[in-house]
């Protein structure tokens, strides 16, 4: 489960830190270079740990993706990764993540707006705590609680059936990409709420007053100020949610027992040994592809985030 929430929650507070940081930094830079080396020493264990247990595995996946079974350079792994069932799984994964993120952005935004507009502090802290908790929910237990709800024999499925509506006869299935998109909402919507609350609450009453004293109507305020201010964080949030569902493995695996063609599931199947002859390093190519997509999303995110934090001060 991704927990960008803490990171994003704090993003509006950063400028304060920044100001302080530069003061300290200015005092430090005058103290000469020799201290610089000594200063770096204490950070070595941490950097080394990340190097061994994160960078090494990631680099080895990317490096192996360019090798054949005998360690010679080849592009055939990538060739295979973008054809047939693997291409389909990339498309399905991207589609699923896109749709799931889009729905969560809309619903989460409405919920965040609704929460921000209430002055009831109990509702506010309930929603904040609830979002913090549910955004970190996921994995296997989530899959089973949805099976109990709208699975084949789920409580709601049976309830609807006794009311004359058989959702499974009407093309709905929990064990499909659509089903997954619904289940993912359980952690995506709270994440969206957590991300959007700070920027929504940063819109000042003074700005509305100022625009009104200049003769703007309420809708003009939203058209020219409110919406342009909220669009960058909304877009950034979309990317966070997209990556989150793109990398998710546990829920999909538990819900569909690995029958659904998504990249993480295919990769998992390759790892657990369902490897055909001649596919030795295919998994590494899939892995490299996943890293590439997440990195692309991350670059877009960072660009938008930099723009947003400017006005949040």
């Amino acid at each position: 489960m991704t927990k960008y929430n803490e990171e994003l929650l704090d993003s509006n507070i950063r400028p304060v830190d920044n100001g302080e940081k530069t003061q300290v930094a200015a005092g430090r830079s005058s103290r000469g270079r020799r201290r610089g080396l000594g200063n770096a020493l204490g950070a070595i264990p941490f950097i080394a740990y990340i190097g061994v247990f994160l960078a090494l595995p990631a680099v080895s996946v990317i490096a192996t993706a360019f090798q054949d079974g005998n360690g010679k350079f080849t592009l055939s792994n990538f060739n295979e990764a973008v054809h047939g069932v693997y291409l389909k799984s990339f498309v399905a994964s991207i589609e699923l993540s896109f749709v799931a993120a889009l729905v969560a952005v809309v619903v989460g935004l409405l919920a965040a707006l609704a929460v921000s507009s209430t002055s009831n502090s109990v509702v506010r802290s309930l929603v904040t705590a609830g979002s913090g908790v549910f955004a970190n929910t996921g994995g296997v237990p989530l899959a089973f609680s949805f099976i109990a709800t709208v699975g084949n024999f789920g409580i709601i499925t049976k309830l609807l059936k006794s009311a004359g509506i058989d959702i499974y006869a009407h093309g709905f299935s929990l064990y499909s990409v659509t089903g997954l998109a619904i289940v993912y909402q359980y952690f995506l919507i709270p994440l969206m709420v957590l991300i959007m609350l700070p920027p929504i609450q940063a819109i000042r009453k003074e700005w509305v007053d100022a625009s009104q004293s200049l003769g703007a109507s309420r809708s003009q305020f939203w058209r020219w100020i409110g919406i342009p201010l909220l669009l960058p964080p909304i877009f950034a949030a979309f990317i966070v949610l997209f990556t989150d569902s793109f990398a998710a493995y546990a829920t999909a695996q538990a819900l569909t027992s690995g029958t659904i063609p998504l990249v993480p599931i295919q990769l998992g199947a390759l790892i657990s040994g369902n490897v055909l002859a001649g596919q030795t390093n295919l998994g590494d190519a899939l892995g490299a592809g996943m890293i590439l997509i997440v990195v692309l999303a991350g670059v877009i995110y960072a660009t938008i985030q930099r723009r947003t934090s400017r006005w949040l001060r």
């Binding site: 489960m1 247990f53 109990a148 997440v294």
Partner: protein, 283 residues
Amino acid sequence: MATIAPDLTPSTKTNGNNSSDVLKLGRPFRYIVLTLVGLFFIVPIVSSARFSFLGNHNSFTISAYTQLFGTAQFWSTLFLSVKVGVGTVFLTLALLIPTVVWVHVRLPKLRRVFEAISLLPLVVPSVVVTLGVITSFRGLPNIIYGTPVILSLEYVVLALPFSYRALDSSVQSIDLKTLVEAGQSLGAGWIKLLRFVLLPNIRGGIIGASILTFAFCLGEFAVASLLSFTTFPVFLVQVGQLAASQAVALSLIALLFTWIPLAVITLVFSQRRASRSTIVADE
């Protein structure tokens, strides 16, 4: 820090009161949205509870729970997950507390860089990390690669985005420089300083980081299952293929056990964020 932070709280407070005036959304809109979204989150929990107590012919039974607690594997996998979790928490704290303190005292310029490094695990999906672990650590002695030790070693990295952030923000909220200088001028060495001055001051952050890391370890499925370790979530999936009601019962227990501590720290941290300026080093 303490001198600058005060600007923060009043402004967030006024924002809070303002945004309800700014938005002016109708009461019906608010209630409809919040009720519908709320239902989406409550219905699966209620259904799970109902499902787990469902016997033949819609009777009420607790057999799913009694059977589970009577299974040896339930306890052994739970114990394994707890062991891995405790190991990960200790490793995390041993690695991160000195690092975070060091960065704040000696490398304040690079604070943002280290924060960004702590977010790197988000770039590599855990399935990919697992594949990388298999290809690069296969040659290591069996005591590391062949035992759950490798899980703890990797979970430290995978939980980093949460654990680092929790510690970093709590160190940020104390006046570290003054505390260190005061301690040193009284003749304390680094160990004494850490033990008697710094640790008590960042206790909240340590507890937060520990809970987040532990909850992560208890729920992690991808790495454990692909490296063929039967941890608690892996056992849960195995149960699910045989007995649905037991799996649902187990899920409900797992969810409640992670939600309660998470709710506590979310509330504590959001309150702290609000009152950070007024009671800075008061812990």
